[in-house]
């Protein structure tokens, strides 16, 4: 167990750096403020810049469990909050059939049988039959947790509106059980790839940090820390190449993870420069679209700087 550390932007930067992550100062400040003000943090930026990674490291920082809710189109309350375990209810009802008959045998008429059933049926809608989904897990957790609501821009607007209650009051209402409130509010991190505008109401409830591609120096540091033993000259060249690719109008710009993968691939094939043959062998690690690969291989000189 890691010892608790005082939360300051500096301590965050330091601990993240120890895990090989170069934390932008805006993000460190925003995380610190999120902790101090008890607010959710919304991280927005292009894909592949490490937004999810920040949430994971944030959980490690607090020695907390990370509960992740991956958003997608059509995600609804049942998948995000809770479900009744229908199968388990049916199974129990079957197994307890004899017991049920015994109980009902005491009833002289139909009306009193229904009254008995009404009292007893609540047993099937207790916590034993509740399947908590990520949001409820985070609220019911006894230990500190970090709730990551990933790619919230991919969910529907209805779901976004539903999130508001959870985010502002840290509680959910379940008709059969009443309102469940978090004993200690979970730390919440939301990420968005900025594919659509999130509602103002959601933005207002969160603190905000924009995470962009790292600067040249930062990215060189990232690659050096992730790929130990890589030649400095090669690192410099490959990072410049990747940064030039991001400025070009590609279908999918390479993220940081892809650059690291590419650096690993280059060391595996033993390349010491970005020659045409080395590019042809390894570019698949950097670019994940055939047209992009063909375009870059056609004139690699444009991106070598």
């Amino acid at each position: 167990m890691t010892r608790p550390v005082e939360v300051t932007p500096e301590s965050i930067t330091e601990r993240f750096a120890a895990s090989g992550f170069v934390c932008p100062p805006e993000v460190a400040t925003a995380l610190h403020l999120a902790e101090a003000l008890g607010k959710p943090l919304l991280l927005e930026g292009p894909p592949g810049v490490g937004k999810t990674e920040i949430a994971k490291l944030w959980a490690t920082f607090h020695d907390a469990e990370l509960i992740r809710l991956q958003c997608y189109e059509g995600l609804d309350e049942a998948k995000a909050l809770y479900e009744w375990s229908y199968g388990k209810q049916m199974l129990y009802a079957q197994l307890l059939r004899d017991k049920t008959s015994d109980v009902l045998a005491q009833a002289p008429d139909l009306g009193s049988a229904i009254a008995i059933l009404r009292d007893e049926a609540d047993a099937f809608f207790s916590r034993d039959f509740l399947l908590p989904r990520p949001l409820l897990q985070a609220i019911l957790a006894k230990r500190p947790v970090v709730l990551l609501i990933d790619e919230v821009d991919r969910s529907d607007e209805e779901f976004e509106a539903f999130l508001l209650e959870v985010l502002s009051d840290h509680q959910v209402s379940i008709p059969e059980l009443g309102t469940l409130k978090a004993a200690s509010p979970p730390r919440v991190v939301l990420t968005s790839n900025d594919t659509r505008d999130l509602s103002d109401a959601l933005r207002r409830r969160c603190l905000y940090a924009h995470v962009d591609y790292p600067s040249l120096d930062d990215e060189i540091r990232i690659v050096e820390s992730r790929v130990p033993g890589i030649a400095a000259a090669l690192t410099d060249r490959l990072v410049r190449f990747a940064q030039a690719l991001r400025k070009a109008d590609l279908k999918k710009a390479p993220g940081i993870a892809e650059v690291v993968d590419w650096a690993l691939a280059l060391t595996v094939v033993g390349a010491d420069s970005l020659s045409a043959s080395a590019l042809r062998k390894t570019l698949g690690a950097l670019l994940k679209n055939r047209e992009d690969v063909e375009r870059v291989l056609a004139e690699p000189g444009r991106y070598r700087g």
Partner: protein
Amino acid sequence: MIPALARFVDALRAEGVAVSSPEAVDAARALGLLGLERRETVRRALAATLAKDRTARAAFDRLFDRFFAPVRLPADGKGKGQPAGAKAGEKRKRRPEPPETSRHRSPSERESEKKARPGLRLRERRPKIVRAPKRRDPAPEPSRRELTRRMTTEEERTIAREVPRLVEALRLRPGRRRRQARAGRPWLRKALRRATATQGVPFVVPMQAPRRRAVRVVLLVDVSFSVARAAGLFLLLAGAFLEFGRRARVVCFVDRPVDATAAIARWMRGGVRAARPGGRARPGDGIVRGAVSFADVLTGIEGLNLDAPSDYGRTLHALTGARRGVRGRDVLLVVLGDGRANRLDPLPWAFEDLARGCGGVLWLVPEPAARWGTGDSALPLYLPSVDVLVEATDLAGLATGVAELRRRL
């Protein structure tokens, strides 16, 4: 810090960034946590709490740089805590940023600036700025109501009813001061007053400096929707001291300049009768003289397209090229407008050309100073050519502007 933060939040809202009160409270708490010692920390704390998307962030960064300028200490360490560029003992004034002009000038302008001809009066880079007194009253009296706000025709009428009172107040204020000189005309009034000390015997007769040539005034008035109300009230006030058509011209503009001297002069005399088209209320409906509203006068001016977006660049360019242009040492150019060029090219060099051609430039801005230079405002680009800038957000502010105008007649 809280008032500064509140002003900053206000300015952000004026830029279109919707900042809610809880967010402003968060910002204050964040500053309390992180301290104010380091500028970048303050920027990050405010950005995380106030600017919540990319467009908001762009506006935030622009405003932050303007609001929280880095403090530069003098080399000898004296005068610690003075704002950037202030000399010891100088009163602190907040001024708009000096504009980055070079990009917006024509090549010939930059050329001519390099070799400033000897004898040519170089204007002071920074104008005198006349600010409005601080407004605290939540329900201000009519003459202090902000004119660019939305208001009904009836409210407008209430404000317009204050015009005669302000005109009277202006008449009581001294106009241009006369100067004593060695030679000139005898100064009778002064001689009589001095002579009372010597029992009516005028031992010395003071002389009065010869009168300057009478000043010609050109009013360049933006009459686009947002400032039309201020324009109408300003013309009413100024009309009490100027005789339109003789030594004063009125040029109205929205997207191009139109000489409105005759129309405004007729309105002042109460001579026009414009047919009043029905429909929704327009700004200027409540500013009435001789049963004709200013809105009607504007509709009656030929060539004026009131629905166009205001275009400062085109207007100024047309004026520099006009045959009967605004030119002469005796010309006082008075501009009324918010300088909002709707992202069209503001052509500051055209204004500089105009300003250089005349004896003085007075600019009345019907917008609070906190919003100058924000959004699509090109005002800072025009500032170097302006002599006096007046914050005229309300009727009283307009009267201050007219007082400044009178001092130069």
